[in-house]
Amino acid sequence: MATDTIMTKPGLLAHAGGYKAMALVALVTILSLGLLANDTRWIYLLVYLWFGVAYGVFLQYGRFCMASAVRDLFAIKVPRMAVGVMIATALFSVTAGLVTISGYSVFHPHPLGWHIIAGGLIFGFGMIFTGGCASGSLYKTGEGNMGSMLVLLSISFSMALFADLGSWSNNLAPASWATSALEKGMPESLTVTDGWFDLFTAGYVWNQSGGTVADMVGTGNIWVDVFVGNVLLTAILPILVILVILYMTTYRKGYIRRNKLETLGFGDEMRGIWGMITTSKNTAIAGLGLGVFAGLQMWATGALREHYEIFNFGELLIKMGYTEGLSIQETVFDPGYWYITTQEAQLGGWVMSLFGRDVTDNIFFGLQNGIPNPLINAPLLMSVGIIVGASILALSRREFKWKVPNMETATFAIVGGALMGIGARLGMGCNVGAFFAAVTNGDLTGWIFLAGMLIGGLLGVKAFNMWLNRKTAGDEFDI
């Protein structure tokens, strides 16, 4: 594999890119030390930042991208990334299980409803056109891809605008949502019956419930509940089934031809499946790293919350004298684990507020997440960390290259990114928050989001192919 060749080249850092990578590490380290010298409580924010850096390194190493996984599977029948993502998911489920048993899990299951599959579908359709999922676009930005940065901006603002839809959108919501929203007794400042997304949240989502499979198993023995319910039943068994399906439908044909096999025994089939898994080695290694670090992040944030006797970073910010941009509950978005899109929506909302738009009268910003200054928005710094981490590895592997999108790619980035943003808000997360973090913590809504993403991805590939066929019908491909 080309990647292996690059990784084993001598003098990984003894070149211009390597020096830039080292300078980047030094810069983030110095900034971190400066913050700690100012107030040691910034450690809470720095945990997010540095875990982000680690995620960025692993994402770039494994080119971990759900858009690639779905698109390559449907468009060119290549299962490599899909297999890698499945391996990563299985491994993360084990570390997440250990964190849950240790009592430091900060995971909250998502409410179950039609919105999960609808969100996944819109998100999946959009990501085919942008060429990257939410986490993929972050690491590709770190490789110097300005088109991916455009995707991130489009996701950020589409989410903020969607969460802040005005009165004109009220009629698009069923009347029952308004009745139900009013019954929640929310403060008047939130105007919960004004704006589609508020009506959707208070009048529909809050009426749904969710839970983990460990809760359903409910034997009272936490080891059995977590490892049978969350790890085995929710993650590992479905993943094994998916791997077999991927092998049978995509990899097996080429495996038989390459090895000139005529009849296949059980051993041949097992070797075939193992061969498929090992072709995804880099993604699987990245998955192992992501799984371990994602588990460690939950543990570290849980321990810091216990140490500072807080439930949310907002409380710590107030103690440190920062009161602007908090929600009316005096909280900020602070999931405590790997998440991508909500903090990007906060960035969009914060920028809109700079231009005089009051976004705090809606539930998403005003009640739940706040719009803190990006410099003290801990999860947003995790996303910045992902970009930095990916840059560090891309520079050291000589893979960093500034790429400016052409008009076609830029249009796809903006339109696809907007769809991803809308899908992420409907589905309450992206490929990371709504799928990866959910499935690995025993929340079945993650599989439903993935099902939506697959349907959307399939439709996206069909639409993309139609575009490609139309484009190549001219002289360009007419040979």
């Binding site: 690639s68 490599r80 590709k140 190549t472």
Partner: protein
């Protein structure tokens, strides 16, 4: 920065997808290879590393041989023989 697909001589083709990122390079490569006859050679020039890994896997599955690889300055050139 348009995609260039040219016939260099009989059985020899060139596809340049420099400047394009996922999903374009792998999808154009698939489309170009579909136009070739078995035994024809395609010189593929691209600069998006992650597409390269998808193209390797695609060629392995479809039985096409990447017989020469040149990691140049900022772009990659591969020669692929259609199986």
């Amino acid at each position: 920065m348009a995609i260039k697909f040219d016939k260099v001589s009989d059985g020899h083709f060139q596809l340049d997808v420099c400047g394009y990122v996922c999903p374009h390079p792998q999808m154009y490569t698939k489309k170009a290879l579909q136009k070739l006859e078995s035994g024809d050679e395609l010189v593929l020039v691209f600069d998006n590393p992650s597409s390269g890994e998808s193209i390797i896997a695609m060629c392995e599955t479809e039985g096409n041989d990447i017989f020469e690889r040149d990691e140049g300055n900022g772009s990659t050139t591969w020669k692929i023989r259609k199986g």
